[in-house]
């Protein structure tokens, strides 16, 4: 059967247009568990599973029951990115990496913040970071913004792929700082060691395309802590709850 692409497009647009209004309308007509937006992923999962459980445990309606009692329990719904406030900590991960620059020696720490702007349970992250890397010839301060994708983030081992822009500063005592723009890629592997904590290694090649052109190569050994997201999704699934 051949499906014309325009109908697929129309269906997608329709689904996207309908989704927010449905999400707003549901709490008013829904069960007590969904009457208010849950404060955390676990509570959201609990609330939804509780509503589902009560529906499953409810006996057949008696003949004299009121219409409200006979009304079937609302279907469980997936919580989308629009259900979680932009400032919800479940969208955030923090990390600290030990970085070694192999071209132009510098060793130091690179803190980073990851923010999931779309679905908090998925692997698309915006990355903001900086570094404090002393070296024998200069003090290296990079400030970067970029994208990082965690593939299969709910599994124990994830592949990390990223890219971004970095503004690099090289400080010396007896001259003005040198600064240059730099683009980089990230290729890494991370392992979940406990529920929300990860350790990983990354290989980070790059190139300065503008002033002071030149390559760069760095490696990182990192730690990351998720405040929610895919880890909660995985644990919710293990407990038989709704994925949040």
């Amino acid at each position: 059967m051949r499906i014309e692409s325009r109908w697929v497009l129309v269906a997608l647009i329709g689904a996207l247009a309908a989704a927010p209004s449905r999400a707003l309308a549901e709490p008013a007509a829904g069960s007590p568990g969904e009457a208010s937006e849950p404060a955390s992923g676990a509570s959201a999962a609990g609330a939804e599973s509780a509503s589902g459980a009560s529906a499953a445990a409810s006996p057949e309606p008696a003949s004299g029951a009121s219409p409200a009692d006979t009304e079937p329990a609302p279907r469980r719904r997936r919580v989308g990115w629009y259900d979680i406030p932009a400032r919800d900590p479940r969208r955030v991960s923090i990390g600290a990496n030990l970085q070694v620059d192999l071209l132009g020696l510098a060793i130091g720490i690179r803190p980073e913040v990851l923010y999931r702007p779309f679905r908090a349970t998925r692997g698309f992250n915006l990355r903001f970071g900086f570094g404090l890397l002393p070296g024998p010839e200069y003090f290296f301060l990079p400030i970067d913004v970029g994208w990082r994708q965690h593939f299969v983030p709910h599994h124990r081992v994830t592949l990390e792929l990223g890219a971004g822009y970095e503004q690099q500063f090289f400080f010396v005592r007896d001259a003005a700082a040198v600064t240059r723009g730099y683009v980089f890629a990230e290729l890494g592997l991370a392992v979940r060691v406990v529920s929300r904590a990860w350790i990983g290694v990354q290989f980070v090649p790059g190139w300065a395309p503008f002033s002071h052109p030149g390559p760069g190569i760095a490696t990182r050994l990192g730690f990351r802590w998720d405040f929610g997201g895919a880890t909660d999704r995985a644990s919710a699934r293990r407990r038989g709850r709704a994925p949040v």
Partner: protein
């Protein structure tokens, strides 16, 4: 998607300004440069008093050669000020003060240009391809006559330490394999 990535890479490379990259060469105490017109970065390490690097060059025609000596910008090398002397035909005879500084006697018929590198303030440069910071003597250009020349690199104070001698004009990296570069990676990168 692939086209977008390819276009981005092409754009980035196209936007890159043309950098001045030297042909990296880790040299022995006595070394002959086969293509003196090519831009070279000669890496060496002086062991202490009396240590001299000798680099031989032969020019078939007159050549205006830019040259500078660099020292890695490290605290332990703050007092390390190696100098270079270009010895060859057509160069002036040394003054008595210069002759006293030279590590050896000049060959017959040769003159010398001695870069004293004695200014109090040291020029700092950022070498972007190796991402390193150096003190520099400041680039100069010397008009050299055809014939055999030698560059002597030594430290008048007898201080030990690394140096990089940059000279030449044309960029040419033919003959440098990845194995050569990898073997001397530690010298170039650190």
């Amino acid at each position: 998607m692939k086209r977008a990535i390819l276009a981005t890479l092409v754009l980035l490379l196209g936007l890159s300004p043309r950098g001045q990259a030297h042909r990296p060469t880790a040299v022995e105490r006595e070394f002959e440069i086969e293509l003196p017109e090519v831009s070279h970065a000669v890496y060496g390490e002086l062991a202490g008093p009396g240590d001299v690097y000798t680099i031989r060059l032969t020019f078939a025609r007159p050549f205006a050669m830019p040259i500078e000596i660099l020292v890695p910008h490290r605290r332990k090398l703050e007092q390390h000020r190696p100098v270079f002397a270009i010895v060859g035909p057509g160069l002036p005879a040394p003054t008595p003060e210069e002759a006293a500084l030279l590590p050896r006697a000049l060959p017959p018929g040769a003159g010398v240009y001695l870069e004293r590198y004695a200014s109090e303030e040291r020029l700092v440069i950022f070498e972007s391809f190796s991402r390193r910071m150096f003190w520099s003597s400041g680039p100069i250009a010397l008009a050299l006559a055809p014939g055999d020349h030698e560059i002597w690199v030594f430290a008048p104070e007898g201080t030990p330490g690394d140096f990089v001698l940059g000279f030449g004009v044309e960029e040419d990296f033919t003959g440098i394999g990845c194995d050569d570069f990898a073997r001397d990676w530690g010298t170039y990168a650190y």
